[in-house]
Amino acid sequence: MEYIIIIIGAVFVNNIVLAQFLGICPYLGVSARVSTSIGMSGAVMFVMTLATIVTFLIFNYILVPLDITYLQTISYILVVASLVQMVELILKKVSPALYQALGIFLPLIVTNCAILGVTILAVREDYGFHLLEAVVFAIGHALGFALTIILFAGIREHLDLMDVPKGMRGAPAALVVAGILALAFMGFANLV
C-alpha cells in the first residue's frame, strides 16, 4: 500500500515535469513525435532507476559515514555521467535491438535535470526512504515523465496541423499547451 501511494504521488500529484519543472529540456526537445517520446521515456526510466540505486548507496554508505555530504552534487553528476556511458556500452554489446531504440537518447540524459533531481530528492531526510522505497520513488517519477511527455507529443502532433497565429508558432504554442496540461494535472492535487 505504501508503495502504491508513493507511485500515485510521483505520477500525478508531484508530477516531475508539470509540477516540479524538472526535465523540461527533453520534454520540449523530443516531444515532436509520439514514437521518439516513447523512446526517451524508456531511456529515462532505465537510467533514473539505476542512478537512484547507485547514488542512494553512495550517499548512505560513503558520503554520510565520512561526513562529506557537501560533495553530493559533484559525486552525483559523475555517477550519472559515467552510468550513462556504461549503460550505452553494455546495451550495445548485450542488446543491439534495445540500443537501437534508446541509443540516441542516452547521451542527452546526462544533462537531464530530472535524473539528478530525483536522485537528490530520493535521499532527502524528510522522506526517510529505505532503498526499496527510493527505487519505487524513482520508477514512479519516470512513469510520470513518460505519461506527460507521451500525452504532450500526442497533442503536438495535432498542433502542427492547426492554424496558429504567426508569432505563436513553434515553441510559444507548445509552452501554452504545456501550461494547459499542467492546469489539468492540478486537479490531482491533494489526491494523496
Binding site: C25, T73, P172
Partner: protein, 195 residues
C-alpha cells in the same frame, strides 16, 4: 564581433531562455516572484562567469576526448561553492530556490557556453560572453518572475501594486508555462523589429 555586441547578445538576440530555450527548468521552477528570479539569475551568472573563465584558461591542457567530463567537474565545483555560500549568507533565498541550486550543474546553458564558446575563444571574450549570457538569463528570469508576481499576487519585488487577491494560477505551475509562452512570442516580435 566587438565586445559590446558579444556582451549584449544575451539580452534579446540570443537570449538563453527566450531564444535558445536553455535552462528552462530553473526559469519555470523558481520564478514565483521577481526577487527569486533575480536571485537564481545572479547565482547562475556567477557559475557561468567562473566556469567560462576556468574553461578558457585550461582549454589547451585538456585532451579533446575527456573535455566534457572535465567541464562538468569545473562547473560542479563552482555550483558547490555557490550552494554553500548561499546557504550561509542568504538562507531565506536558499530555501525558496531549494533543489534548483544544485541543479545549476545540469543547466544546459552553462555546459553549452563552456562547450560552444569558452573552449574555442580567448579568456577575455569568454568572460564577457559568460557575463552577458548570465545577465541575459537573469533578465529573462526577473521578467518572468515579475509578470507572474504582478498577475498572481498584485505585487512587484514585494511592493503591493493593487489590493486584493491576484489570479493565483499565475503563481502556480500552469501560469509559468503560459507566461513563458507569451514572453517567447513577444521576444520573437521584438527581435524581428530590432535585427
Amino acid at each position: 564581433m566587438g565586445q559590446l555586441q558579444n556582451f549584449s547578445k544575451g539580452f534579446i538576440k540570443d537570449n538563453p531562455v527566450f531564444v535558445l530555450l536553455l535552462g528552462l527548468c530553473p526559469a519555470l521552477g523558481v520564478t514565483t516572484s521577481a526577487f527569486n528570479g533575480l536571485g537564481m539569475g545572479l547565482a547562475t551568472t556567477f557559475v557561468l562567469f567562473s566556469s567560462n573563465l576556468v574553461v578558457s584558461l585550461i582549454k589547451n591542457l585538456i585532451p579533446a576526448k575527456v573535455r566534457i567530463p572535465s567541464f562538468i567537474v569545473v562547473i560542479a565545483s563552482f555550483v558547490t561553492i555557490t550552494d554553500l555560500v548561499m546557504e550561509a549568507f542568504l538562507p531565506a533565498l536558499y530555501d525558496s530556490l531549494g533543489l534548483f541550486i544544485p541543479l545549476i550543474v545540469v543547466n544546459c546553458l552553462v555546459m553549452g557556453r563552456a562547450e560552444a564558446f569558452a573552449s574555442k575563444n580567448n579568456t577575455f571574450s569568454s568572460i564577457v560572453d559568460g557575463l552577458g549570457m548570465g545577465l541575459g538569463f537573469a533578465f529573462a528570469l526577473t521578467l518572468l518572475g515579475g509578470v507572474r508576481e504582478i498577475l498572481g499576487a498584485g505585487e512587484f519585488f514585494g511592493l503591493t501594486l493593487f489590493a486584493g487577491d491576484g489570479m493565483l494560477v499565475f503563481v502556480l505551475a500552469p501560469g509559468a508555462f503560459i507566461v513563458l509562452g507569451y514572453l517567447v512570442a513577444l521576444n520573437n516580435i521584438v527581435k524581428k523589429k530590432l535585427y
